[in-house]
């Protein structure tokens, strides 16, 4: 789901609590990695820096607080720093440091006196210290490319346009496959299409088995639609994580690739780097990234590459790419209480996304006028887009003008109506079941108890002595019923 980005002046706390950070995909990925994976990652200073920034502020500052100390962090230090009561349980302290422990930065340890200490990961500590002092040796911030001074290099604007075009091209391809009509789009390269298929964002409908899909005839899935509605940073990390998972599935080492992502995130927009010297271990991955617009290469086989803003904004942490000019461009929607939508944009992709759930009536060069109506919203919902996704899309793209009216940002009637439409679609809840009709109250009650204990019960209607159980538990329950029957009949 789209985060109602934190630069939201009046973000609704209830909605923000349900949303996730742009790096959610990364977080899930990292949470499933083992110690050795992190050991390898932390060899790169750039990774240490980015991981540090991804921690919650309190945790982050405790790490920094202890960075230059020779002793490991102790529970008692954390408690005194955080003004905790001395009686607070170890678990609570653990909970504060949990993100760091999960990232294997700290290893909680009971020392001899059964006091908890938190020694830091040596690789991380060294990496972070080197990042701050610039004394590292891993070239993780990128080796600049040696070029002639008068060489013609693209400026930042050009790089941004390049990156944006490349990535939006993929998104447009996805949208147009779903809309049927759409607009002329170039088909992305095969590797990209493969990733889209593997990730489940697109699927070949003519190949239900999934064994032999035709990459040229894929259409977007409901997961794909949800992907479209997310903000850029989330999309980027999701794509990268799909890429990484695919690598892992091919039993390739992904740590080097992941650490390259972080290095790219720490690079300077407009600067050119040498691929072979910066990422000797991940050259093929770097090539792949070029297809998504993360980097720009003047010549296909050149060693020189420029990271685009897609790459350099990767590690901008919770500030996301929502800052600056990029953010302003994304704020173009005005939604009125009469369901009319005015979108001040000429971006084909945004219009196509809007077209998913908005009945577009008028198109001017820089303005699209449409209406949120039942038909379009419901057809969007058929595609697997939920009301919550539409709402968060609308609010994250709200025009600054909309913040001038009293909160909430979107009028409650519209939000409610969207939820109602969503509900309408799901008026029937169906589940496979096995019904047991009883005539004996005693047997009914015993069976009900048994079914409940085994979490097999779906529904029980005592006055009609009906019992509905999960189909897969049918054998076990019948077994039980038969036993009980024999017992009861024999007069126990």
């Amino acid at each position: 789901m789209v985060q109602p980005s934190f630069s939201h002046p009046r973000s609704d706390p209830s909605s923000s609590s349900t949303s996730t950070s742009p790096t959610a995909a990364l977080d899930t990925f990292l949470d499933n990695q083992h110690q050795s994976y992190f050991e390898e990652l932390y060899k790169s200073e750039a990774v240490c820096l980015c991981i540090l920034r991804s921690l919650p502020p309190v945790c982050r500052h405790i790490i920094l607080h202890n960075l230059w100390s020779h002793q490991p962090l102790r529970t008692i230090d954390i408690k005194s720093l955080l003004q905790m009561d001395i009686q607070v349980s170890l678990q609570d302290v653990d909970e504060v440091m949990r993100p760091a422990i999960n990232r294997k930065i700290l290893h909680p340890l009971l020392n001899k006196k059964s006091k908890m200490i938190y020694p830091s990961n040596d690789a991380f500590k060294k990496g972070l210290r080197n990042a701050l002092t610039g004394l590292g040796t891993s070239n993780s911030f990128g080796v600049p490319f040696d070029r002639e001074d008068d060489a013609d290099i693209p400026d930042q604007q050009a790089l941004e346009t390049y990156g944006e075009d490349a990535f939006e091209g993929i998104l447009k391809y996805m949208v147009s496959s779903g809309l049927g009509v759409g607009f002329p789009v170039a088909r992305p390269q095969m590797e990209v299409l493969e990733l889209l298929l593997i990730s489940g964002l697109m699927v070949d409908p003519s190949d239900p088995s999934g064994q032999n899909p035709n990459l040229n005839r894929m259409t977007i899935t409901s997961k794909g639609f949800q992907f479209l509605l997310e903000d850029r940073q989330t999309q980027l990390w999701e794509i990268l994580m799909y890429y990484l998972t695919a690598k892992e599935a091919n039993s390739e080492r992904s740590a080097v690739v992941l650490s390259m992502f972080f290095s790219l995130g720490c690079m300077q927009l407009g600067q050119d780097y040498s691929a072979s010297r910066s990422f000797p271990g991940a050259l093929s991955a770097l090539n792949d990234l070029a297809q998504y617009g993360f980097i720009y290469r003047p010549a296909p086989e050149s060693d020189q590459f420029f990271p685009t803003h897609l790459a350099t904004a990767l590690c901008s942490g919770d500030a996301a790419a929502t800052r600056g000019q990029d953010a302003d461009e994304k704020r173009f929607l005005i939604l009125e209480t009469n369901y009319k939508i005015y979108a001040y944009t000429s971006n084909e992709l945004e219009i196509a996304i809007l077209n998913l759930f908005v009945d577009i009536r008028i198109r001017y060069p820089n303005l699209v006028v449409g209406k949120l109506d039942r038909k379009n919203v419901k057809s969007a919902m058929e595609k697997g887009i939920s009301a919550n996704q539409i709402i968060s899309y609308l609010s994250s793209h709200a025009h600054p003008q909309m913040y001038n009216s009293p909160p909430p940002l979107l009028h409650p009637t519209i939000v409610d109506q969207l939820h109602l439409w969503d509900r309408e679609r799901n008026r029937l809840k169906t589940e496979d079941t096995v019904m047991l009709e009883f005539f004996s109250k005693e047997l009914f009650e015993d069976t009900e108890k048994e079914a409940k204990a085994n979490a097999a019960l779906q529904l029980s209607i005592p006055n009609q002595k009906f019992l509905f159980i999960e189909p897969q538990t049918k054998a076990a329950i019948t077994e039980f019923v038969k036993e009980r029957q024999t017992q009861l009949r024999s007069g126990f």
């Binding site: 002046p9 909970e95 610039g134 911030f141 720490c266 300077q268």
Partner: protein, 442 residues
């Protein structure tokens, strides 16, 4: 100092994000002060804590310190995306912006180093450049025989005013366009503050290297002339605590104005005072007052190394985390002394004009500022009232650390102990305080 909030154990209440933070550093690079710091006298013996007593006094040179400072600033930049650093150098009688460089002065971006995060590299190289420029200027002044200005105290007030102007510029709600919105809306304190969550928070870190609280500047000429013209030379040092706590020239008013402006903008002024007790027993009381009044952190180095750890431990957390959830480091007793307008002495007890509240160190028949005539007859009475003043040593009341601390926090522990030691030496400090005697400007 706000009373410490009750112990909070609910880690769920910890902030999930913090606003981006701008750190404005004012670095005192007064050459004379640094020459003192680079060859410190032996540290004051410290029998209470053998471990600390063993540690030798560490000489600290400006390049060494700047290296530490750079690491600290990098850590600040590292701690959150969007954090920024602004550095002012305050040298004898002048202050200058060192970083960020003026926009037109940016030479082509230097080639990135493969092992340094580029923003760090920009910051570090620019600080180095800026300091070299300032050093060259100082050299210039020296060669042109401009000895007088070299002896001036560092231009802390000027640097502070510049920093505050900078903050005023970057804070969106202080902009002039905001002043045009409906006053009824903005003036209602009960109205929810419409500040966006990404409004940056700012703080100022003053790094003082000049002993004896000599951290003032030349007085504003207006004040100076007023005071000097009316000076009839009948100064009697009778009841002023001359030299105690260092002297403060007319910069006192400027410093106080800065403090109030900072209070208004809710900008904490942190103070790190480098001269260890062995060089100067008296704290820079006005900077200490500044830190106290703006809820900043004041701390004096003990001269025994460990500065990098102290910087990270004390000054790194942004204001939004300082009181909750983090604990504020224990602070010293603060002397609320003032400076008289007539002789620029630091006073414990002074004579105050009832009309304009000007402070004088001795009774006088006419107020220097507002020309109010005072009853001559009361002068002797006033004199007797103000006599019999013995200086009170700052008592030994620094709170013990809330929980026993051991190896790691022995820094803080050491801190406390040191403060005690300072308190003890403070009683007879009047002799050493004279070290910071400023040179009068005529």
């Amino acid at each position: 100092m706000a009373p410490p909030p009750p112990p909070v154990t609910d880690y769920k209440s910890y902030p999930k994000t913090t606003p981006p933070s701008v750190l404005l550093v004012i670095l005192d690079i007064h050459p004379l002060s640094w020459s003192l710091l680079s060859s410190p006298p032996p540290a004051i013996p410290y029998p209470e804590h053998p471990a600390i007593d063993k540690a030798q006094a560490t000489p600290m040179t400006l390049p060494d310190f700047v290296t530490l400072l750079m690491v600290f600033l990098n850590a600040h930049l590292a701690s959150r995306w969007g954090n920024e650093v602004v550095i002012y150098g305050a040298s004898a009688g002048r202050a200058k912006l060192l970083y960020p460089p003026p926009p037109n002065a940016v030479a082509g971006p230097s080639k990135p180093r493969p092992n340094t995060y580029h923003p760090f590299q920009l910051l570090d190289s620019r600080i180095e450049e800026g300091l070299k420029e300032m050093a060259a200027e100082e050299q210039d002044r020296l060669e042109h025989g401009d000895m007088k200005t070299l002896n001036q105290p560092p231009a802390m007030v000027s640097a502070l005013t510049k920093a505050l102007c900078f903050i005023n510029r970057i804070l969106p709600n202080n902009s002039n366009s905001a002043a045009l919105v409906d006053p009824a809306a903005t003036q209602d304190p009960s109205a929810p503050a419409s500040n966006a969550p990404d409004k940056p928070e700012t703080r100022i870190l003053v790094i003082n290297s000049t002993p004896g609280a000599n951290v003032s500047t030349a007085t504003s000429s207006n004040e100076q002339s007023n005071a000097e013209v009316n000076e009839n030379g009948t100064s009697t040092n009778g009841n002023s605590q001359n030299g105690k706590g260092g002297q403060m020239r007319g910069g006192y008013v400027g410093l106080m104005n800065c403090v109030f402006a900072a209070q208004k903008a809710k900008v904490p002024i942190d103070v790190l005072s480098l001269p260890p007790p062995s060089i100067d027993a008296s704290p820079p009381i006005f900077l200490q007052q500044a830190a106290h009044l703006t809820e900043g952190i004041y701390w004096q180095w003990n001269g025994r190394g460990g500065l990098l750890q102290y910087l990270h431990a004390l000054y790194l957390p942004p204001p939004s985390l300082r009181h909750h959830p983090f604990a504020v480091p224990p602070q010293d007793a603060v002397g609320f002394r003032a400076v008289c307008f007539c002789h620029h002495k630091t006073l414990d007890i002074g004579f105050v004009c009832s009309v304009c509240l000007s402070i004088f160190c001795e009774p006088r028949p006419v107020c220097l500022m507002c020309k109010t005539r005072f009853p001559i007859k009361s002068i002797p009475t006033l004199k007797t009232l103000a006599t019999y003043i013995e200086h009170i040593p700052i008592p030994d009341t620094v709170p013990p650390p809330p929980i026993p601390k051991g190896a790691k926090t022995h820094q803080q522990n050491e801190n406390n102990k040191r403060e005690r030691a300072k308190g003890a030496t403070n009683g007879d400090a009047s002799g050493t305080g004279g070290r910071g005697e400023p040179i009068e400007i005529d």
